[in-house]
Symmetry: C2
Subunit: 357 residues, 2 copies
């Protein structure tokens, strides 16, 4: 059927072969689609391009807002992702973006597209996970939209948070010689996913399958029930540290550090032997003949925080606990590199396939 | 594969037949899922249950937030919904919820799940519609999330707005003897959809189909490019009218008025011969042997505003222009009825299948 022409001016389709979305890449696509939008409202302090949008709220405070879409078959596989965990993780993914702005998460809106194969009991499980995460992170569920889907399960989360205007941390504030800090450990979530995928392959077609996870519970938990680091944002406030830049690690250390370098117009050196990797991650990586550092750099979904602070704050950062200094910010023209123990330098490349918003 | 037990307590599935979602109905499902959530943050002024969530922002103002999910095959059919119109309408659907709270729309976040069949040029069209709507309604695009979908197109919109705290209009404030007012006319969007469905049926299998829309352009526009009544919210402010209750007409007059009655604990009488219906709606309804009043009551997607004002404001409301008084609020125990010209009373029933958030 031809395009309907009403009183709206339809942009005529160019008479050429359509361009595949993959050709632009995910970040390129967002830039392409949003470049031509201008900002009109004085309350819009920051739009597209950071972990969350920043909107004026009163004289001293701002509202932070972020949205994430989780799609069945893309972001999760219901054959091994328990719905309760999925609900929990959906909240974490969104709340983590607010924490990465140094914000206090406060409200949540959850919209679901639900296929007929999903029962009320299954949704109860999903919401039990959402409720558990809301309680843990002291966030209020304030709205949403639920409708039938003709395809798979779609979960959309909008998270709202609050911060004092001068304490919002953007990606673009890292300065020369700043320390690059990281919370927790990296690569475990990716290994958890590899474990689940392996068991799924091995047990395909088996009736009443009994997957073997013994000894790897930690990896599973890191993938299925990652933590949002609200504790770190609270510790930063206690130590009166406002990082110069911050991002949450959803795409992997390499991709996310490059986002900071791009926004801050700087380079970086991180040291391979400083990257925190859990014992269980290393053990399972060996078992499946993978390099755990690659998992840390490119695996993603760790939802730890990556931030930079001035050199002078090193002692205060170390006092916080649970934070490792893994490198420092360099001049933009020196690029971003991983330094190996023998002094070799490997250029960091973005490998994430997930949108950073 | 069995459920993975990590350190999260999984709620055991009850050992009984799963409950189908349809058995609860859409409103029932939302109540069921959200009943057990409690509110923790002082900034949460209103959560689930109105057109938008209301969040404190400074001393005198509030932030309004609403989300809507539009799914291919459920909310739109790409065989006849031009992408530019779809982008426009996605914004209208969300912005309309803010207007229904008497709010000023200011920011927008758009997330897309995009299947591989959609080209960059198609997304350009979608975003051209979004941009057009943003310009018209003076809203800033401030974020989103774009990812590949293995199924159809999913569009998720979060809209943020602002209002003075004492000027927010909820659904629950209608008082006995208040006038029931309506903007524009009803049922046209539903007739536009019927027209498109008819042409799709007629032209199925035809090469280079040429659908016949002559004379019905108005109906198509009302369905494909509905207006959000920002003008009405501005006129209300000019006339210094703060309605006692308000809702946007997305599910149809019957269902939406019943939402006001439920929230305000009141009844209503509306008069059949006062319901504004456009000439084109009546004409096409006759052509397809349908009752235009049924389309007005149950069709939905008109995105007009339904509001109540004290009797004393009748003159000021009439001075606004573009508003019809169609009835009045009665005591709760008298129910909600449509009064026919011969004095008969027909009980109003909710027919909408769409979520009201």
């Amino acid at each position: 059927m031809r395009e309907v022409h009403t009183t709206v001016n339809n942009i005529p389709m160019a008479d050429k072969k359509p361009t595949e979305i993959a050709s632009l890449g995910e970040f390129g696509l967002i830039d392409h689609l949003t470049d031509s939008f201008s900002v009109r409202n004085a309350s819009t302090l920051r739009g597209v391009g950071d972990d969350a949008a920043v909107i004026a709220a009163g004289a001293d405070e701002v509202t932070l807002c972020t949205t994430d879409l989780l799609l069945e078959g893309v972001d999760f596989d219901l054959t091994y992702f328990p719905l309760k965990h999925l609900g929990y993780k959906a909240v974490v993914v969104a709340v983590s973006d607010l924490l990465a702005m140094n914000g206090r998460p406060e409200q949540l809106l959850v919209s679901l597209g639900v296929s007929s194969k999903i029962s009320v009991e299954a949704l109860d499980d999903l919401y039990a996970g959402i409720r558990f995460a809301c309680e843990e992170m002291e966030v209020d569920l304030v709205g949403g939209d639920t409708k039938a889907s003709v395809t798979g399960l779609a979960i959309h989360v909008t998270a709202l948070g609050r911060a004092r205007k001068e304490e919002v941390v953007y990606r673009g504030g890292a300065k020369l010689h700043d320390l690059i800090c990281i919370t927790g450990n990296l690569g475990a979530a990716y290994m958890g996913l590899q474990l689940l995928e392996r068991e799924k392959r091995v047990l395909r077609g088996v009736k009443d399958p009994e997957p073997e996870f013994k000894g790897n519970e930690y990896l599973l938990q890191r993938y299925l029930k990652p933590a949002a680091r609200k504790d770190i944002v609270e510790l930063l406030a206690e130590e009166k540290i406002v990082p110069t830049s911050m991002i949450d690690l959803s795409d992997g250390l390499a991709s996310d550090l490059l986002q900071i370098c791009k926004a801050s117009k700087c380079g970086a050196r991180i040291y391979l032997d400083r990257i925190p990797i859990a014992r269980q991650t290393t053990a399972f990586a060996e078992e499946i003949h993978t390099d755990p550092v690659v998992a840390a750099l490119n695996g993603g979904e760790d939802y730890e925080l990556l931030f930079t602070v001035p050199l002078a704050l090193q002692e205060r950062v170390m006092r916080m606990g649970g934070v490792d200094v893994i490198g420092h910010i360099t001049a933009e023209n020196t690029g971003a590199y991983l330094v190996t123990p023998d002094g070799g330098e490997i250029r960091l490349k973005a490998q994430g396939f997930r949108d950073k918003e």
